[in-house]
């Protein structure tokens, strides 16, 4: 699992696809998540481009693509169950499943240890 400075994570499935979501830290900072807006299948997003929105009662944030992606699907469960983002942000509450267009971009992202260190500096 790799992280961005914008608090997205990406989990490489080893078959050219990956799950993408937001980190524990981000979920906690947002507070109670009430709504998640996800992209349609087939959309291609460049690294750093916003592909979705996550809203809590008090805040709304764009969610950025950690690497170049072609969306396979948005998490169908988040529509009815946005609180899952607070409960299991780094597992079940993935935002999208997507094809990784440029696997080499993954290398530049932070691993768990580096992300923890990064959080310490905030």
């Amino acid at each position: 699992m790799r992280f961005t400075k914008e608090h997205e994570w990406v989990r490489d499935q080893g078959d050219g696809t990956a799950f993408v979501g937001i980190s524990n830290y981000a979920a906690e900072a947002l507070g109670d998540v009430v709504y998640v807006e996800l992209p349609e299948a087939g959309r291609v997003v460049k690294q750093g481009e916003a592909f979705g929105v996550v809203e809590s009662v008090k805040a709304a944030s764009d969610v950025y693509a950690p690497v170049d992606l072609e969306i396979i699907e948005g998490n169908p469960d988040l529509g009815n169950d946005p609180e899952a983002v607070n409960a299991v942000p780094e597992s079940g509450a993935w935002f999208v499943r997507a094809r990784i267009i440029n696997p080499s971009q993954l290398e530049a992202l932070m691993d768990c240890t580096a992300y923890e260190e990064f959080l310490g500096t905030l």
Partner: protein, 513 residues
């Protein structure tokens, strides 16, 4: 002598016990009130009109046949419904309403009476102008007061609220840049402490927003401003006095810098109440500023509107003001509604008709009542009241920018609450139990746990002292070492409704019954 032995006792014998509950949903004077839709009576009506038969041949196929589901109430039922609901509202007329940056001052009732005069409240916006000369003259007089008070040569009256005024001002700026071949200017500089409307409005008209930093004493960082200038800067949007309740000491220099860079100076006039009659924005180099008539000029806030946001404009922007324009000539007053003659360069139209006339009447009534001397006293007393509150609380509550006086609002942060288990929100909610409306909280964003208190000039010293006494008592209790902070964390205890679940409301939106 004859004695009546069956009378009632005339002094209380038994005292009430705690936790008393009524047998129904009654709560003494506070009546519970269901939704009108729950009565589900669609046959009744509170108006007496005959049920006539119409042929309506021309409307065949267009007639409404479905049931509308709109319940009707007779007059007594309607009065009860709305009076009962009214009892659940806090209001300025009840007690201090110190919402910072909202200027919740007393709303004079003469304003209301004047807005309802025959010949003002009942005239139609499209009557021939020959039949509404008094109305257009009223707009002209209001314009003269606004221009004189701000030291600006022109005013666009039609924007319907402060944010609408911001939009009007930025559209005038955009039109002016385009007219002078400067259409490439697409960046607006906005300080971090700005009202959320400023960046929202800038983005709305297609400008990109560049934030500028703040100094340790809560003002615009001029060095940072200079560093962020570029030849694509269209304008700066600045609130003055700013959202920290402080006057921008370097305001004239800031105006000079932005002008030298080819940009315009948009001033957010939300805080004009602090300086009305004492400082003219025109003397500070402002090019455009909206004036919230519902703040400085006492038109009622009405549960969230309607407002009014006329925009004063500098010579450079005046030609671009939206339709309609009020003009006067030998035949009296006229309205230019089509970008004709001197209004040929107008950028368009903000709304149908001529703006918030009902608010113009109220605001002008207020201005005429105060006069030039009274308005000067308004800002003096508003600033005095805010500083009195600041001075009376600053030994208990921390002040982020303690040096020098504040203007019309006193800003505190939550440093003093650190480690108490009480948050700004808890403290604010506890104020409700003491009978006051909370202050503006968590704004401006540049101050942690901000509490922004704007008392306005229409509070007496007695009321201010009541407020200060209550806040001091709460503040002392909040910092007292104790494990039980439920006074704050579960507040309000005495409001008709307890804290509401906003998460649920947003997750499962139910917006109609």
């Amino acid at each position: 002598m004859s004695m009546n032995r069956t009378g009632r006792p005339t002094a209380p014998v038994v005292t009430a016990h705690e936790g008393f509950a009524s047998l129904t949903d009654g709560r003494g004077l506070l009546q519970s009130e269901r939704l009108i839709f729950e009565k589900k009576d669609y046959t009744r009506t509170g108006v007496d009109f005959a049920d006539i038969e119409i042929a309506a041949d021309d409307l065949s196929g267009l007639l409404r046949e479905e049931d509308m589901g709109l319940p009707g109430l007779t007059e007594p039922e309607a009065i009860r419904h709305y009076v009962r609901l009214s009892q659940y509202n806090h209001a300025i007329d009840l007690a201090l309403y110190p919402l910072g940056s909202c200027t919740m001052k007393h709303n004079p009732r003469l304003n209301e009476k004047m807005a309802r005069l025959t010949g003002l409240g009942d005239i139609h916006p499209l009557q021939p102008v020959s039949t509404v000369q008094g109305a257009i003259q009223l707009m002209d007089v209001l314009a003269r007061w606004l221009k004189t008070l701000t030291g600006m040569p022109a005013v666009a009256l039609s924007p319907k609220a402060g944010a609408h005024g911001e939009l009007c001002g930025l559209l005038a700026i955009k039109a002016a840049h385009e007219a002078s071949g400067q259409g490439h200017r697409r960046t607006v500089l906005v300080p971090k402490s700005a009202h959320g409307t400023n960046p929202a409005t800038a983005a709305f008209v297609g400008y990109s927003v560049r934030e500028i930093g703040q100094t340790a004493d809560g003002r615009v960082d001029i060095a940072d401003l200079k560093a962020r200038l570029s030849d694509d800067v269209a304008a700066i949007m600045l609130t003055n006095p700013n959202t920290c309740g402080l006057f921008e000491r370097d305001i004239i220099a800031i105006a000079d810098i932005i002008h030298a860079a080819g940009g315009y100076f948009y001033c957010d006039g939300a805080n004009f109440n602090a300086i009305v009659g004492r400082v003219r924005p025109g003397d500070l180099g402002v090019d455009a500023m909206h004036i919230n008539l519902h703040k400085t000029f006492s038109t009622p806030h009405g549960g969230g509107g309607p407002g009014a946001g006329p925009v004063v404009l500098s010579e450079a922007l005046a030609a671009f003001a939206p339709a309609p324009w009020v003009v006067s000539g030998a035949d009296g007053f006229d309205l230019l509604e089509h970008g004709e003659g001197e209004s040929a360069a107008n950028f368009g139209r903000m709304c149908a008709f001529h703006g918030q006339m009902g608010m113009y009447i109220r605001a002008l009534t207020y201005m005429l009542s105060h006069g030039a001397d009274g308005l000067r006293q308004v800002s003096g007393d508003a600033v005095l009241n805010a500083n009195y509150i600041k001075a009376s609380l600053s030994d208990l509550m921390s002040v982020p920018f303690p040096d020098g006086p504040c203007m019309h609002e006193a800003l505190f942060d939550d440093k003093w609450l650190e480690g108490t288990g009480v948050t700004t929100l808890d403290f604010a909610k506890a104020m409700i139990d003491e009978g006051f409306h909370p202050m503006t909280m968590y704004f401006p964003l540049v101050v942690h746990g901000a509490m922004l208190i704007e008392p306005t000039e229409t509070e007496s010293k007695t009321e201010l002292d009541r407020f200060i006494t209550a806040l001091r008592a709460l503040a002392e209790d909040a910092v007292k070492p104790s494990n039980d902070k439920t006074r704050f964390t579960a507040a309000p205890h005495l409001a008709p409704t307890k804290r509401l679940d906003e998460t649920r409301a947003a997750r499962f939106p139910r917006l109609v019954w």
